[in-house]
């Protein structure tokens, strides 16, 4: 598998007068796991959604393997076809899973293979079955999402993304909507994916995952990227008082 790299340069984003991203710079190396952490409303999800251009950005540039996403040139929007072509190799997993409730697990995974990759139905069904087996759901293929637990739904969503053979995976708080006892199974699948050398960008509140799996951790606050470094330096020896404050609150909340 060929893994993508992402270069984020001087990216800013405004919602009207509100500045959601402030001149963000971040390099995401190929085959590595980058975790984005920070308080809610700090812009981490917005930044993640800019990477596959679900959100547009107002200034700066985001390049995937050297090619800018969303704009042909600064200020000139990319056409739909070119954008779709770039998105094809970027998988995304959402906080709310966003499975399509009118399709079974297998149909959810096969849909993109049929519509986007142009596979025949039998080929897509076969590939969907493989992807579902990979996330440990071979026996749940014919269930509709409403018949699956949150953790199972999120694993179907991961299978839906990896079946497209992406070179980059974006995770937007993938475990935040899950009951605590279901978080582990999703993180387990994500760890396995990281082990295969997938480039991953993960917005998360799971400090344990960030600490053990991430190659680099970026801390954001108020739309600003405050620091990016190894998990050890960000999570265990942070120098910036804003990171120290965030982690203190985190530890207080998680101690009992």
């Amino acid at each position: 598998m060929q893994a993508s790299s992402v270069e984020i340069r001087n990216v800013s984003k405004f919602y009207g007068p509100f500045q959601a991203l402030r001149d963000v710079n971040l390099s995401i190396p190929p085959g590595k796991v980058t975790c984005l952490i920070g308080p809610s409303g700090s812009g981490k999800s917005t930044l993640l959604r800019c990477i596959n251009f679900l959100e547009d950005y107002s200034a700066g540039e985001i390049r995937i393997d050297g090619r800018m996403i969303g704009y042909e040139a600064p200020g000139r929007r990319m056409r739909g076809r070119a954008l779709r072509e770039m998105r094809r190799s970027i998988g995304m997993v959402f906080q709310q899973f966003n499975l399509w409730p009118h399709m079974t697990a297998r149909e959810n995974v096969a849909e993109g293979l049929i519509r986007v990759r142009g596979l025949s139905r039998p080929d897509a069904a076969g590939r969907a079955a493989d992807a579902l087996a990979k996330v440990g759901l071979a026996d749940k293929m014919d269930n509709h999402p409403s018949r699956l637990s949150g953790g199972q739904q999120q694993r179907v969503a991961i299978a839906r993304a990896i079946a497209m053979e992406p070179r980059l995976m974006l995770f937007d708080e993938p475990t935040s909507a899950l009951d605590p006892e279901l978080v582990g199974e999703v993180l387990h699948v994500m760890k396995a994916l990281a082990g295969e050398g997938m480039t991953m960008v993960v917005v998360t509140h799971e400090m344990g995952f960030a600490s053990h799996v991430a190659d680099q951790v970026a801390f954001m606050e108020r739309g600003e990227l405050v620091g990016v470094d190894t998990p050890g330096r960000i999570l265990h020896q942070p120098e910036d008082p804003r990171i120290q404050g965030f982690l203190r609150t985190y530890h207080e909340r998680n101690s009992f």
Binding site: N52, L54, G80, R84, E85, R87, R88, I90, G91, M92, F94, Q96, N98, L99, W100, P101, H102, E111, G112, R115, V116, H144, S146, A157, R160, A161, M164
Partner: protein, 215 residues
Amino acid sequence: MFSIPTFLESLVPLFWAARYTLLISVAGIALGLVIGTLVCAARLSPSRALRRAGAVWVSFLRGVPLLVQLLVFYYSLPLFGLDVPAMVAAIVTVGICASAYISEIWRGAINALPRGQAEAAVAIGMTPQDVWRRIILPQAFTLSLPALINELILLVKASSLVSVVGILEITRASQAQAATTFRPLEVYLAAACIYLVINLCLAALGRYLEHRTAV
């Protein structure tokens, strides 16, 4: 004295007249679905002018009683030199009126879908056409089914209004029957029974379809 034989006898011609009631309702909702879909598309379009036009269409047709729409439409046709059969005029009016409600039913169902549904499809690179055809519309249709059946039942009852342009549907036929038999209670009660049977069947059909499309 309530005359049971008169009641039973009037069921037969009224039952026959029900074919017009059904024709108007079914053709009306079919036309309403087509126009209503276009109006809904206009209301959700990026063009401000189209959105405005759709909103005017809906508020005008919802704000004027169907009976008045029917009379205005029917009596304005000769002005344009059009000689349209009463039946066609009735179906068109009912269809146009229903389109206002149907477009709102669609719009409500589409807006009720979580935004993430379409986002997930966009994120894997699906075209906007596929997003609509495969993700949004099938779910919106299922969601709106109860409201559409409701609308069809309302149309069956509203079709009694087309009696004013001389179509011999259930209501008009029962008026004629009542006048000749001098037994209005029996006749109108028979009419009520026929409407009820039609609508109970439609409600059952609705439940069946809802059950089949449920996930």
